[in-house]
Amino acid sequence: MMFSSISLTGKLHAGLEELQARASTWWVMLQISIQERFVYRGDFVLGTLMRFLPIVTQIFLWGAIFHANARETIAGYTYHNFVAYYLLTMVSRAFSSMPGLASGIARQVREGEVKKYLIQPVDMITVLLLARVAHKLVYYFVAALPFAAVFYICRHYFPGWPDPEVMAAYILSLILAFLLGFFLEATLGLISFWFLEVTSLLFVYMLFNFFFSGHMFPLDMLPEPWLTLVNFLPLKYLAYFPAAVFLGKVQGGELVMGLSVQAGWVVFFIILCRWTYARGIDQYSAYGG
């Protein structure tokens, strides 16, 4: 009895130590990535502002459509809703888009850089995830000002701040969107263990993502059977869903359901990503020098 309790505390202690060691490794990796990111800060600010330009034409287009057809709402959206929607998808995309992630993994596989992770006591997916978190943190830090300016100028397009619960759900959906975007694209990148060249696959993904994530228009505008199709895809949680939550389009039970499905997709892709990585390593043959 006595003996087993000692070994339990011992185990617990060892476990805590290991966790601490891991956390400090993660912290170092995060710091390195943050410093790396700050090297190109000027490019960042300019890039952020330029990304709003395509939205300008979209806003003018919808303004003209509403005016020409003397409509109050189109597909349940007022003109103001449309503008707010497009701006909010920019926020969603700031969380869920992972530029260069999949193609970066594919390059590392192709050029044999992956073996670095096989001999170092760090895990490839963890390193990439932390680098991405660092990338995003720096991005928000630099992009906060241009984003705040644009949202302030456009504030009258918004119905006002949502309730605290909705706001909490919105932030949760953004974090889930980040995780979903990461593990989805990482899985795509890992496919390069089998096919060395995945550029065209990534292009197709980008295409579908652009259209079916809701970046181009609010997805609930779609007629059947497209609407059903889109609801069965994980892509809508990358841009449409968080924006719809903020605008109060998804409420009550539907909101809980939506968040659960989003979390479900995240878990699904974490498992798929892990599995793909393990299987990929098994048959990896270290090309390149």
Partner: protein, 277 residues
């Protein structure tokens, strides 16, 4: 003499690129399909809009851009952009590499106009898939239109499509030239995309005080609004007196853009200092 000479060189470029494209046949097919997919998605977006407002709904107040009129506009965008992508885009992307690595030296010593050489050296045949689709969409939209253009419009249309190509090309060469001064210009493609994005919509959508300014800037300062709007309007809508002004202005804008583009290119060449080698 000089023209036939240049023509033969151009034909050689065409042939070389075709041979290269046909060597990697699957790559060619995949490229064609993927650029077509972008077009289908874009078309899908507008079909969705007209599904919501009805095919007789207008894109902008009193503009006459109803569904099939606008599809004429969309096919014009496709035709012009696919020509630019086929002939000039791969070269503009290559140009900044030529400068960074010093490869421009070899272009400068050749007994041919440098701008001609670096603008047309590589041809991306797979982008012509969009051109073919643009022609199909154009024919279908014209067939569905109640109005039929007269002979003058049919003749003037291809001419103004070419004018549009020239304006976009001049803008591209001017942007690409800046990489001589900047050493490397990676955001060139992004900037190009964001700028030409304004040309993809009928100019009537730019309304209100901000819209008026945007319309003026993109008509007179950087004439990207002229590119698609003039030929598309010419073909899709009955001739009106204001068309003459637009046609005249488009012609002036084309000549002006080309001259300015060439001037910037030559100025940039003056300050080229070879790299490495």
């Amino acid at each position: 003499m000089a023209i036939t000479h240049y023509w033969r060189v151009f034909m050689t470029f065409l042939r070389n690129s075709l041979v290269r494209d046909m060597t990697f046949r699957w790559n060619f097919i995949i490229n064609s399909i993927s650029s077509l997919s972008w077009v289908f998605m874009n078309l899908g977006f507008y079909i969705l809009i007209f599904h919501q407002i009805g095919s007789h709904g207008e894109l902008a107040p009193q503009s006459g851009w109803r569904q099939y009129e606008f599809f004429v506009f969309l096919s014009t965008t496709l035709l012009i952009n696919s020509i630019v992508q086929t002939f000039f885009m791969p070269n503009a992307e290559e140009f900044s590499e030529l400068i960074r690595r010093g490869g421009l030296d070899f272009a400068l010593v050749k007994p041919i106009d440098t701008q001609f050489l670096i603008s047309l050296y590589e041809v991306d045949w797979s982008s012509l898939a969009n051109f073919v689709f643009g022609l199909c969409l154009l024919s279908y939209s014209l067939y569905r239109l109640d109005y039929h253009p007269g002979w003058f419009q049919v003749v003037a249309y291809p001419f103004y499509v070419i004018c549009g190509v020239v304006i976009l090309y001049s803008l591209m060469i001017a942007l690409a030239s800046t990489s001589i001064w900047l050493g490397r210009n990676q955001s060139l493609y992004n900037f190009w995309f964001y700028l030409t994005n304004f040309s993809r919509y009928p100019m009537e959508i730019y309304r209100g005080p901000v819209g008026d300014w945007l319309r003026r800037i993109f008509t007179f300062l950087v004439p990207v609004l002229v590119v698609v709007n003039v030929p598309a309007r010419l073909l899709a809508k009955p001739l009106e007196p204001e068309h003459w002004w637009l046609m005249l202005y488009a012609l002036a804008a084309t000549v002006g853009s080309f001259a300015l583009g060439r001037w910037i290119f030559l100025k940039a060449l003056d300050s080229y200092r070879s790299a490495s080698s």
